[in-house]
Symmetry: none
Subunit: 206 residues, 4 copies
DNA sequence: TATGAATGAGATTTCATTCAT
DNA sequence: CATGAATGAAATCTCATTCAT
């Protein structure tokens, strides 16, 4: 039972407990005591490490966004080829990564989405992320089609990804990641169809 | 000041006040007192007419869903032709109807989406609606394509509609309905392209 | 048990309860629950009527200061003669008025004195009052002696009054008002001795 | 960094830090952590050296009273003459000594005054001190006037000293020691005037 | 029908203290 | 000797709901 250097351990523990609590009962019913119980610590320590409940929620959202960014980045760094199709495919794969799709992360994310409409700090995090998805997609589409069409393609694919994700989070059975990826990739092929020789078949990850 | 027959008036007044409050500060900060203030009545009356806060929230969500159903139904009843394209187009139009797209309704809806994950009553309402969108789309797609492909088309278009809607609700500038409709109709044309002579141009309803 | 128009009644009730609580256990140990118990109401109502604990404390201090001002004013309004001695005598009497000298008011006042050093709102109230005492005394002394001496006389008498009051509040037996008045009046006579025919005897007002 | 013999150093360090903290934010907001931060040590150590917060507060008050006693004693030991006027003058001087008049000590003292009303331990310290001031003054006055008048003189001068001190501590500009001493000495001359050849002029010290 | 007075449960936060290292 | 991790009690405030008028 080490008594020093606990800070990073406790912070991670509490962030995980926050996701677990939101997954369990929803953001509205997530109290510091419930989070603390999940983490096996006392409630007071949350203020100690995060300055208060809001600090912990913000840290949790930040973690989720970081995980997403990493999931995308890692796939894009290990691509076989540098084609737009490959990059966009990696973005799709990253967005349906296991980390994101797991119950706790998914519900936490949707909860934050709703909450961010009225909390400036969360809204900022949210917007940075939204914008990055759009910008990345747009950049790749512009390599193969006129700019105005690339913008629409990016908007459409971003909407498709978020829509699949949202419907999955809401459906009682949870998100079917396999199916979601298939639909997203199919849509991507349709978007690229007019400008580029299609890949042999929709590539669902590999 | 008649003392009888106030019920329907008060109920509507309070439902509108609820949306206004959620639009203003979000579901989490929406207290019965704030709703009452918006409606210009006292807080106690909410329990009188709706049995409590939850009853009012449920009634409010029901209202939003009813509005959506009506917006779609009205368009489908007045179609020029009975083609799948026309029906699906009407569904798209209905989903981006002004009632849905207006600030209060949009934010209220997203708030309920998140909330419904952990409130069985809201979840039921939510699911009925989701399923109807999917079923309706599926039915129309099946008229022009194999069943398995129709299912995917329906899933894809439903995701697209919800995704556009979600991203619009979250973006600081609000939903650009014109653009959203254009993207949805464009996607619809792509889905139908292989099975059917395309319409002359994406129809944004105007 | 009337259910309307309770506000002024409850406010007074709670202010009195606050003084009682401070008298009983001191400001530091005065919790809203203790105050509420003294008033025979629930704790939540304090926030309802005063916006919170601080609001109630401020209102209580305001009440004490108002009582003091009134006690002085009433005596000055009913003076037999308009001499400086009479006016200053009335100020002394007012400051050792029963309202001020009673246990609860006295301890509450001292508590606020200490507290006011670090609470701007209380400090403002405190200063207004201090300054009024000094200004009033100074004005009267100036009628019979050179201005520079009048200022010193006013400072001295103000200090004497507060000092007697303070030592009385702190002494285990409480303030002996009779003795305090006698000492203050005696000091007043000494201050006036060089400028004015002394009154026949120190007037303790009986 | 010697590990032994730290006790007296740490104790003094913490007592000074306590006064600094009280001066800064008032007794009510003085937490052990703030004191520890002022002293540059960890909070836990306070319990180690003083048994807890109360022990530290008591030690701090004791220190202040000791400082006052010493300030008076030192002056009385170095008097030119043994007259009552000289002794009482020394008492006045001691009471407006720099140690007492400095911001931290002054505010700390007033805070303890208020606090002592409800803390028996502080009250005892407080009373011992009050009584000593009165007894010393009384003893000297009795050398030149009838006992009953000496008692009143002692009460009056004690009140004057405390009153000047109190008003100084509360005034936004702090205590003007020069002026306070002048007023106290002037009052002393008035008290002695009838029994004793006055000193050539009010003596404000040195 | 409608109000506003009032309650009591619950949530967050602060804080002194203890304890293992 | 000293730290900082951790707890648990207590305090304030908010809020949905009830009830007498």
């Amino acid at each position: 039972m080490p008594k020093v250097g606990m800070e990073p351990i406790r912070r991670q523990q509490l962030i995980n407990a926050t996701m677990a609590a939101i997954d369990e009962v929803g953001l509205a019913e997530t109290t510091v005591m419930r989070i603390a119980r999940h983490a096996g610590v006392s409630a007071g320590i949350i203020s100690h490490y995060f300055g208060g409940k809001d600090g912990l929620l913000e840290a949790t959202m930040r973690q989720i966004l970081t995980d997403l960014t990493d999931a995308v980045a890692i796939r894009r760094r290990t691509l076989d080829d540098d084609s737009p199709r490959a990059h966009i495919g990696a973005i799709i794969e990253g967005n349906f990564d296991r980390t994101q799709v797991t119950g706790p992360a998914a519900k936490t994310w949707l909860a934050f989405w709703a909450s961010s409409m009225h909390k400036p700090m969360l809204q900022r995090l949210q917007n940075v992320n939204d914008r990055r998805l759009y910008t990345n997609l747009c950049h790749q589409f512009k390599r193969v089609m006129p700019h105005s069409e690339a913008r629409n393609a990016a908007r459409g694919l971003a909407a498709m990804i978020d829509g699949l994700w949202l419907r999955g989070a809401l459906s009682p059975e949870g998100l079917n990641a396999e199916e979601a990826r298939f639909l997203a990739h199919t849509y991507l092929e349709q978007l690229l169809a007019n400008y580029d020789a299609p890949a042999s078949a929709p590539n669902t990850h590999s």
